[in-house]
């Protein structure tokens, strides 16, 4: 059986036996199938399959969307560092960052397609676009950037030995590599806007004092904070996934100095972000919310879930703490602390996105109304897990068949112990 698969595997690297790979993919595919079943159910029967309601029109899926896009931000920011800031060292990880980005963005679009009540009319967002809507901006930038990600991903796919054998494809991939900086720059530009627009989605809601933020021109502060946090935490997610891949494959795939560099930059981004976020929170709590008749603690009391703990968790535990670890050399060099910081940063950005969607919906605006609590249905959970299963499959295929990690050969000379 190796005879059939061997030409597909990049030369000079070792991969696990086919059966092992098939079992692994099979498990992920089973989870994926469960999600796809839920997805079909939702498309067939409608959104009544969810536990969303008129108060919770935005719920788990929108959070998942915002979160995967923030986490997929590693692609644009690493691209920015690599191609624009000239951090050539990062070429060792850029491929992986692009693939993770591709997974995140494709899944974000899929979830959006599940989330809307009339999926067959989804294209109205382009056709009948309302330029005032943050969601329109998101849709345009998101799809354009996804196209960029595809373009960035294609040359990597073409590097599969079997495809490289075709002269046309070989040249195509070579030429694409040459111009990749242009696409990377475009991607950075687009990403800046759609990450920001996603922040704007909740920040512009002047009817929702928990979400609403003042800002510059048409952009509320959340616009910048979202871009910033995605730039800070996206690379952390790239590091996390790389680390997980290394653990699973039991191989070193990227040199430590590359990861350290990325972690250091992330740390500084995170620190500056969290300072800005703190300033934003203080201004909101002391000026914006009171001007609408709300004391800050109104948003964090009288409900079973959203206590002040969530703000502390987001800003201190998953903000300042990981930032401080990552900016210190000692912190970065201790692999436990480094990974702790990376995980906390990832959790932090997820909490932020959660709060900016789900807590926004939960807060009562009238003194005579109660908090609205929400538990997703299994269909929502299953479809939200699709990106995980899909991600595992794509990453596994990419790792197996593509020369994703340029340093792999060097770090793992064939004949060494690899699985």
């Amino acid at each position: 059986m190796k005879a059939t698969e061997a030409p597909l595997i990049p030369p000079g690297v070792k991969r696990c036996p086919t059966w092992q790979f098939v079992v692994w993919i099979g498990l992920a595919a089973a989870v994926l199938a469960w999600g796809v079943y839920a997805m079909i159910l939702i498309w067939w029967k409608g959104l009544n399959q969810t536990n969303m309601n008129d108060a919770y029109g935005f719920a788990l899926w929108i959070w998942a969307d915002l979160a995967v896009i923030a986490l997929g931000g590693g692609a644009f920011f690493t691209g920015f560092l690599t191609y624009i800031m000239g951090q050539k060292k990062l070429k060792a990880i850029i491929n992986y960052a692009v693939i993770i980005g591709f997974i995140c963005y494709s899944m974000a679009q899929l979830i959006l397609a599940i989330d809307i009540g009339q999926p067959l009319r989804g294209w109205f967002i382009f056709w009948h676009a309302n330029v005032h809507s943050m969601l329109t901006e998101v849709a345009f930038c998101l799809s354009c950037y996804f196209a960029v990600l595809v373009i960035e991903f294609i040359p990597l796919i073409l590097e599969n030995p079997k495809l490289q054998a075709k002269p046309f494809l070989h040249h195509l991939s070579h030429n694409m590599h040459e111009v990749m900086a242009v696409f990377a720059a475009t991607g950075v530009f687009l990403s800046f806007f759609h990450q920001g627009s996603l922040g704007g989605v909740s920040g512009v809601l002047f009817g929702r004092p928990f979400a609403f933020r003042e800002g510059i021109f048409i952009w509320p502060w959340t616009f910048f904070l979202f871009t910033w946090s995605a730039a800070a935490c996206g690379p952390c997610f790239t590091i996390l996934v790389t680390w997980l891949t290394e653990k699973i494959t039991r191989k070193k795939l990227v040199k430590q100095d590359v990861l350290q560099l990325l972690a250091k930059i992330s740390g500084w981004m995170l620190l500056t972000y969290i300072i800005a976020k703190t300033a934003d929170t203080l201004y909101w709590a002391m000026v914006t919310a009171p001007s609408k008749g709300f004391a800050m603690m109104d948003f964090y009391s009288n409900n079973p879930l959203y206590g002040i703990w969530i703000l502390i968790a987001e800003i201190v535990v998953c903000g300042f703490l990981p930032a401080l670890i990552l900016i210190t050399k000692k912190g970065r060099e201790n692999s436990f602390f480094m990974m702790l910081a990376v995980v906390l940063a990832v959790i932090g950005v997820c909490i932020n996105r959660w709060v900016m969607v789900l807590q926004v919906m939960a807060v009562p605006l009238f003194t005579f109304k109660d908090w609205v609590m929400y538990t997703p249905s299994w269909q929502e959970v299953a479809t939200t897990i699709i990106p995980v299963a899909f991600g595992i499959i794509v990453l596994s295929l990419a790792y197996r068949y593509l020369p994703v990690f340029p340093q792999e050969k060097e770090l793992n000379p064939v004949g060494g112990s690899a699985k």
């Binding site: 009339q118 067959l120 009319r121 294209w123 109205f124």
Partner: protein, 762 residues
């Protein structure tokens, strides 16, 4: 051409690019979107010519003028009729839901004959001929066996030509047993008869009142003509004060100028406590008391026995402090209220709880009525008056045969008008007990039911069902499948109210008369028949004198005949307004033996009935249940959002019920947080509510506005008659499942305003 792999790939890529730059995918995308905009399962209402039919709503006795909007031959909406003398263009949620009854799934579409056991829901569709011959056959047999009095007919009302036609049918047939549900108006009717000697319904000139003292009447919750009351409320300004007395913060109480919480069932005592203050402080209407009343001061009656006068009785027994102990209303509040009430320019006290569907005790009715007399609010602008239905229908004389005559002379099956209850006309709530306690055969051999749903509305529905089980034949003329219809042997479906012609009597409580004409807005949708036509046809089939009493071909010709002078105006405008003096008697003239208002009714003594005390004791009647086992008290409440009579809520009506009242299938019981705390029950908890008559699983809703230790539950839920109506069926509990009747010792009318209860968390 040979296709190798390379050219295959090239071809595929080419095709893919080609498809995308071709219009095909874009066209498909567009078509898919257009398809979602025209899903075949989303109906597209047909357009057409718009027209309106003027009619009257008969879903409740409120008699609002309505305009039915039509598109071609479909009725699409019901609106209020502008400038209508009762409803002034307004309309209530029930009236607005009307088309859901017309087109709803609960309609009985053809005559049905029961197949399985009663209530099992197995029916055979039969034709009208078969249905009518089966029913009239059995009626003929009963007459042949000289038992016409074995037939009873329960109708929703005794007013208007259709009930009169039914009564005429029974007369000619030979049964005295025309029965309808009774309410607070019946108690008041007797109070008025005893004190004023007049027969008729009590009306209130609320449009001209400055002070309304309501002893629990749900003035804004369906009392009287509901839309008249709501309209009146909207027109209200500072010149009218409304004081609401009841133990629960009802919607009426919430809108009143003052809400006085009172221990339930002690309203009559409070009325006399107010009388005490008014008398003691000489705030009563001297002119009326001196010139137009007797029995105030007391003295010797014509048998020479000394009777304590109303004044002394009240002064002796109803001092504010003692009244306060019974009612829970502070003595100060009683004094203050009495003064304000007596000093108001035009004032009126209103008796009756909620919508007035509970008759209540005679003593309470008399107490409130006496209060009105005390302040001279009888036959005065802004006060109480007596109106009687104008009898414009010309009923030709008819003679009856020996069988009928014999039957008519039998005592009524419900005991009304007998020696025990001489002044009562209908005692439907007595029926189950009488039937269940009868030895041998049931006293009713055949029961006819029209526009009524006794198995839902009778207190203690389990006992009522048991009684019905003993009746050999039950025939129902219901338009809808309901609880009583489900328990019948034959259903001869009447047209729905929007498909039939009928006159509509003036609504209760109105000080002037408004006769309406309900006209068919649409042609009958199903194989139903107008009940008037069916009664006439049944009479004709029975033949002889019975047939002779009905010289008309059908109901319509009878009605035109009957309404002779008014027909044209009714047919055109939809209503006739008759503003005549509310009574033919002068303000201070009464039809009693003394020609005065009698605080101590002489009527009772005239009939030699010495059981009537000098003044009917006004101590609250004890309610049912052992205080040890059932430490709490359960009372019902009425709501504009819940149809609680014969018909069940339409889907729209159920949709507007708050989630604090109905959540999924569970109805909420209102509990004061203090009581709930003691019971260890919290908001939204599920609990078991038990009373001596029944048990139910309910939800708990904490409500500050209810007296501690009191529970309250809405009436109108707990329907089971039409299992396919998922919109109302099996939601909540029927209050009547949990309560039993408490007949008044004087009138026999039901007085049960509540029952002892217990609430335990499950």
């Amino acid at each position: 051409m040979k296709i190798d792999r390379r050219s295959f790939i090239a071809l595929s890529i080419g095709a893919s690019v080609g498809i995308h730059i071709s219009p095909a995918p874009w066209k498909l995308m567009d078509d898919a979107a257009i398809w979602t905009q025209n899903w075949p399962w989303t109906p597209v209402p047909e357009r057409g010519e718009v027209s309106y039919v003027r009619s009257v709503c008969t879903l409740c006795p409120g008699a609002c003028g309505i305009m039915v909007r039509k598109v071609n031959n479909r009725a699409v909406r019901i609106e209020g009729m502008k400038n209508h003398p009762v409803s002034s263009g307004g309309i209530c949620p029930l009236g607005l839901s009307g088309l859901q009854y017309l087109y709803g799934p609960a309609r009985v579409k053809t005559p049905l004959k029961r197949e399985g056991k009663r209530g099992e829901g197995k029916w055979k569709e039969i034709g009208w001929d078969e249905a009518l011959s089966a029913v009239t056959g059995q009626l003929a047999d009963l007459r042949a066996n000289n038992n016409p009095q074995g037939v009873a007919w329960i109708a929703g009302s005794d007013r208007g030509t259709i009930p009169r036609l039914i009564d005429r049918f029974l007369s000619a047939y030979g049964s005295p047993n025309f029965i309808r549900p009774a309410g607070a108006a019946d108690t008041l009717e007797q109070a008025v008869y005893l004190t004023q000697g007049q027969l008729g319904t009590v009306a209130y000139d609320l449009e001209n009142t400055n002070f309304i003292l309501s002893f629990g009447a749900g003035l804004l919750e369906g009392w009287g003509a509901p839309v008249r009351m709501l309209h009146l409320h909207g027109k209200r300004d500072k010149s009218r004060t409304i004081v609401q007395i009841e133990p629960r913060l009802s919607d009426t109480a919430a809108k009143a100028d003052q809400w006085i919480g009172i221990n339930p069932g002690t309203e009559g005592t409070l009325a006399l406590g107010l009388a005490h203050v008014i008398i003691k402080e000489s705030l009563y209407n001297m002119e009326f008391i001196e010139n137009a009343a007797t029995g105030f001061a007391g003295g010797a009656d014509k048998d020479g026995q000394t009777r304590q006068g109303f004044r002394d009785m009240v002064i002796e027994n109803y001092a504010p402090e003692s009244v306060s102990r019974i009612t829970g209303v502070p003595a100060r509040t009683i004094e203050d209220l009495a003064r304000r009430f007596a000093r108001a320019d035009k004032k009126v006290a209103i008796f009756g709880r909620g919508q007035g569907s509970l008759p209540g005790s005679m003593s309470d009715g008399l107490a409130v009525h006496a209060l009105n007399a005390l302040v001279g609010a009888i036959h005065q602008p802004g006060g109480v008056s007596v109106v009687s239905d104008p009898d414009f229908a010309k009923w030709p004389e008819s003679s009856i045969d020996e069988t009928a005559s014999q039957g008519r002379q039998q005592p009524r099956i419900d005991g009304a008008g007998t020696d025990a209850f001489p002044y009562s006309r209908y005692l439907m709530t007595q029926l189950p007990e009488i039937i269940n306690s009868a030895s041998g055969d049931a006293p009713i051999k055949a029961l006819m039911v029209s526009e009524a749903n006794p198995l839902y509305t009778l207190p203690d529905t389990a006992a009522a069902r048991k009684a019905f089980d003993r009746i050999p034949l039950i025939v129902n003329f219901s338009t809808f499948m309901d609880e009583t219809a489900a328990y019948s042997d034959y259903i001869l479906p009447n047209h729905s109210y929007l498909e039939r012609l009928q006159d509509v009597p003036s609504p209760e409580g109105l000080p002037y008369t408004v006769i309406g004409l309900a006209k068919p807005a649409v042609k009958p949708l199903y194989d139903t028949r107008h009940i008037g036509d069916v009664v006439i046809e049944m009479a004709k089939t029975l033949g002889g004198f019975v047939a002779d009493a009905f010289p008309w071909n059908d109901y319509e010709s009878f009605l035109k005949d009957a309404l002779a002078d008014h027909w044209r105006q009714l047919n055109g405008k939809g209503f006739v307004e008759i503003r005549q003096p509310s009574s033919e008697l002068a303000p201070y003239e009464f039809a009693t033996a003394s020609a005065k208002f009698e605080f101590l009714p002489s009527t009772g003594t005239d009939t030699g009935d010495d059981k009537l005390p000098a003044w009917p004791q006004s101590a609250p009647l004890p309610i049912e249940g052992d205080a040890q086992r059932f430490p709490l008290v359960l009372i019902p409440y009425d709501s504009m959002r819940l149809a609680n009579r014969n018909i069940a809520n339409a889907p729209f009506m159920t949709k507007i019920i708050d989630d604090t009242i109905l959540k999924k299938q569970l109805v909420s019981v209102e509990v004061n947080p203090q009581t709930a705390g003691r019971l260890g029950i919290g908001e939204g908890d599920t609990a078991e509510l038990s009373t001596p008559r029944g048990k139910a699983v309910v939800r708990v809703h904490l409500q500050e506005g209810i007296q501690p230790d009191l529970l309250s539950m809405p009436r109108g839920l707990g329907r089971w008659g039409f299992p396919d109506d998922w919109y109302i069926n099996d939601k909540g509990v029927n209050f009547n499942d949990l309560i039993g009747p408490r007949p008044d010792p004087l009138s026999g009318l039901d007085t049960a305003w509540g029952i002892r209860a217990q609430l335990t968390r499950v």
